[in-house]
C-alpha cells in the first residue's frame, strides 16, 4: 500500500470515526457502496425483465400458431371433410389421413425393432473388446451424422435408389423406408441413453446373483428402461408425422385411397398443406387449415403423452 493511499485511508477512517462516534465503520453506511449495491440490484432487475421478455417473444409464435390453427381448423372441420376423398366434389382428407397412417406404420415397423436392438447393442454389448468398441463408436458417430442430415437429402437418396433404381416408382414403401431411416438415430440414441441410466448397483446385484448378460438385459435393464425407450419412439413418430420434404420425392401425390406398398403414389397430410397453400379453390385453404390442425393436435398429443405420461411410469 503506498503512502498516499494510506493517507486517504486514514482520512476516511477519521471521517467515519466522526460519523459513527467511535464504533468501527460499517461498509454499507458508505454512500458509494450503497449506490453500487442499488445499481447492482437495478441491473439484476433489468436482466430479469429482459429474460421474461425473451420468453414472451419465444412463446408468442407457439401460442399464435396453436390458437390460429385450432380456430381455423374448428371452422373447417366437418364429417365429409374427414371421410371424403380429395378428388370428390366435396373434397376431404380421408385418403391423406390413411396415407399418413400407412407411412407412419411402415416406418415405425421398420425403425423400432432395428433402433431398439441397435440401442441395446450399443448400451450393453459393445464393451466386449477393442473391435466392438471401435465398431460401436463408429455406429454412434454415423447415427449422429444421420440425425444431422437434412431430410431433403434423404428424399433425394430415396428418389435415386428406391424410386428409380429399384423401380418402385412413387410409393408408400419408399417413403416409409426413408422415414424409418430418419427415425432410426433418435430411437437408437434414446434407447442407449435410457438403458445406460439403469443404476450400476442394480446391474452389479443382478450379476452377483448369477444372471447372464442376456438375462440381465431381458429381465432387468430393458424393462426398467422401457418408459424412456417408449418416449423416444413416440417422439420420433411425432417427427415422422410432420415430415414433408423427403416424402414429396418418394411418395408423390394421389387423390385416391392407395393401400398398396409399391408402384402407387399416395397422399399424406403434410402434402395437403404444401399442395393447397396457394390454391385458388374455395375448398383448398380449408383443407390446408384442417390438415395443419390435425398435424398440430397429433404432435401435441404425442408430446404430452411422451413427456408427461411416460415420465410418471419411469422407476429410475
Amino acid at each position: 500500500m503506498s503512502e498516499k493511499q494510506m493517507q486517504i485511508e486514514s482520512e476516511r477512517d477519521a471521517e467515519n470515526h466522526d460519523r459513527t462516534e467511535g464504533t468501527r465503520p460499517l461498509p454499507w453506511n458508505d454512500s458509494r457502496v450503497l449506490f453500487r449495491y442499488k445499481l447492482r440490484r437495478i441491473v439484476d432487475k433489468i436482466v430479469v425483465a429482459v429474460t421474461i421478455i425473451a420468453v414472451a417473444i419465444v412463446l408468442y409464435p407457439l401460442l399464435d400458431i396453436l390458437f390460429m390453427f385450432f380456430y381455423r381448423g374448428a371452422l373447417a372441420i366437418s364429417l365429409p371433410r374427414l371421410t371424403e376423398l380429395t378428388s370428390n366434389l366435396q373434397p376431404g382428407l380421408a385418403n391423406a389421413i390413411v396415407g399418413t397412417l400407412l407411412l407412419v406404420s411402415i416406418s415405425t415397423l421398420v425403425a423400432v425393432p432395428l433402433g431398439v436392438l441397435g440401442g441395446i447393442y450399443l448400451a450393453e454389448f459393445s464393451e466386449g473388446g477393442k473391435w466392438s468398441r471401435t465398431y460401436a463408436s463408429t455406429v454412434r458417430f454415423l447415427s449422429d451424422v444421420l440425425s444431422g442430415m437434412p431430410s431433403i437429402l434423404l428424399g433425394y437418396v430415396g428418389f435415386l435408389i428406391l424410386v428409380i433404381d429399384f423401380g418402385w416408382g412413387f410409393s408408400p414403401m419408399a417413403g416409409g423406408l426413408i422415414l424409418a431411416i430418419l427415425m432410426l438415430p433418435y430411437v437408437i440414441k434414446t434407447t442407449e441413453l435410457s438403458i445406460r441410466k439403469v443404476p450400476l448397483k442394480l446391474r452389479e446385484a443382478a450379476t452377483a446373483l448369477g444372471a447372464t448378460r442376456t438375462q440381465l438385459v431381458n429381465r432387468m435393464s430393458f424393462p426398467l428402461a422401457l418408459p424412456g425407450i417408449l418416449t423416444g419412439i413416440i417422439l420420433s413418430i411425432s417427427i415422422s408425422v410432420g415430415e414433408t420434404a423427403p416424402l414429396i420425392f418418394t411418395v408423390g401425390n394421389s387423390d385416391y385411397y392407395s393401400l398398396c406398398l409399391i408402384h402407387c403414389s399416395t397422399n399424406f397430410l403434410t402434402n395437403i398443406i404444401w399442395y393447397f397453400v396457394y390454391s385458388p379453390n374455395s375448398y383448398g385453404p380449408n383443407l390446408a387449415y384442417l390438415s395443419a390442425f390435425l398435424l398440430i393436435s397429433f404432435a401435441l398429443v404425442l408430446n404430452i403423452t411422451a413427456r408427461i405420461g411416460l415420465r410418471r411410469l419411469s422407476k429410475i
Binding site: 447492482r40 429474460t51 419465444v58 441397435g118 454415423l142 444431422g148 414433408t244 398443406i273 395443419a292 398440430i296
Partner: protein, 316 residues
C-alpha cells in the same frame, strides 16, 4: 443380430453417398471448380446437346452455386443472430430465475416449438408473419433505417427477413434446451457459494454459470445453425425462390440450397442431357458436406462441454 442391425446404418450412409456421387459425377467433371466460384445458375433451355470433357450438356447452360451458398449462409446467419439472444434469455430465465413451478410448463412449451412440423411453420409464415412484416415492419425499417444498405431497397414479404425469423423460431428450442441443460450442470456448491457472497442472480449467471457452460452453449448454437442450414419446407414457402441475385437487402427473395433442391428436382429430371439432374445432385453433396461438418463440430463441442462439466463436478 444387433451387430447386423448397426451395420445397416453404415451401409446406408455409404450407399447414399455413393449414389449421390455417382449421379453427380458428370457435373463434377464438366463444371469443375466453376461450380463453386460462379454465381450464374442457368440450366439452358436450348435443345442442342454438346459434349464437354466427355459428358453431355445443353449448349449455353451454366451451373454456379455461389448464389445458393450466399443465400443459405445469409438466411441461417439471420436466424442465428435472432435465436441466440432469445434462446439464451429463455435458458437463463428457466435455470436461474423462474421457480420450478413456472419453469417446468414453460420448458415444456419451448420443447413443443420443436414438435411443430416445419410445413406448418411455413404456412403460419405465409398467413401471419409475412403480411405483418410486409405491411408493418418492413416499411418502417426501410423508412427509418433505409440509409443502411441492408435495410434499403424494394420491400417484399417472401424474403430473407421473413425466412430468417421463421428459421430463428425453429432453432430457438435447440439453443434454449441444450443451453439450459448445460447451465443446470453448474455445481450447486459453486452457485450457492457465489450467492452466499452476495452476488445477484445476474452476477451469478454472468460470472459463474455462463463461463461454466460456455462450450456447451456454443455447441448448441452451432447445432442450431446446422438445423437452419438444412431446413427446407418453411424456407421454400417463405423464400420467394429468387435466383441469380446475391442478397443485397433483407427483403430480397432468395433460394437456399435446400429450398432450390426441393422446388427444382422435377424440372431437373426433364433435362435431356441429364446435366441439370447431375448438377442438382452435386448441390446436394455440397449441402451434405456443409451440414455434416457443422453437425460434427457441434456434437464435439457439446460432448466437450459435458465432459468438462462432469470433470469439474468431481473436483468441486
Amino acid at each position: 443380430m444387433t451387430l447386423v442391425v448397426a451395420a445397416g446404418s453404415i451401409l446406408f450412409i455409404i450407399s447414399a453417398v455413393a449414389v449421390l456421387l455417382f449421379t453427380a459425377y458428370p457435373s463434377i467433371v464438366s463444371n469443375e471448380l466453376g461450380f463453386f466460384t460462379s454465381a450464374n445458375w442457368n440450366p439452358s433451355l436450348s435443345g442442342t446437346v454438346e459434349t464437354v470433357n466427355g459428358v453431355h450438356r445443353l449448349t449455353g447452360s451454366s451451373f454456379g452455386i455461389l448464389v445458393f451458398i450466399a443465400d443459405t449462409i445469409a438466411s441461417s446467419g439471420i436466424a442465428v443472430l435472432l435465436a441466440v439472444p432469445a434462446g439464451l434469455g429463455v435458458a437463463i430465465f428457466l435455470t436461474e430465475i423462474a421457480p420450478r413451478r413456472i419453469s417446468a410448463p414453460i420448458s415444456f412449451m419451448v420443447e413443443m416449438l420443436a414438435g411443430i412440423p416445419s410445413v406448418v411453420y411455413g404456412f403460419w409464415g405465409l398467413l401471419v408473419l409475412g403480411p405483418y412484416l410486409f405491411y408493418t415492419v418492413e416499411p418502417y425499417l426501410s423508412q427509418h433505417l433505409g440509409f443502411i444498405p441492408i435495410f434499403s431497397g424494394p420491400i417484399s414479404s417472401p424474403g430473407l427477413l421473413s425466412a430468417g425469423i421463421i428459421l430463428a423460431i425453429m432453432i430457438i428450442p435447440i439453443v434454449a434446451s441444450i443451453s439450459q441443460d448445460m447451465m443446470a450442470r453448474t455445481p450447486k456448491e459453486t452457485r450457492e457459494g457465489a450467492k452466499a457472497l452476495g452476488l445477484t442472480r445476474w452476477e451469478v449467471t454472468r460470472k459463474i454459470v455462463l463461463p461454466y457452460a460456455k462450450t456447451g452453449i456454443v455447441g448448441s448454437i452451432v447445432l442450431g445453425l446446422g438445423r437452419a442450414l438444412g431446413e427446407t419446407m418453411a424456407v421454400a414457402m417463405l423464400a420467394g425462390s429468387g435466383v441469380q441475385i446475391l442478397p443485397k437487402s433483407l427483403y430480397y427473395p432468395f433460394s437456399t440450397i435446400a429450398s432450390y433442391m426441393l422446388l427444382n428436382l422435377g424440372a431437373a429430371v426433364t433435362d435431356p442431357s441429364g446435366m441439370e439432374l447431375s448438377a442438382i445432385m452435386e448441390l446436394g453433396l455440397v449441402l451434405l458436406a456443409i451440414t455434416v461438418t457443422v453437425n460434427i463440430v457441434a456434437r464435439l463441442l457439446i460432448k466437450q462441454g459435458f465432459a468438462s462439466s462432469s470433470e469439474n463436478a468431481v473436483r468441486v
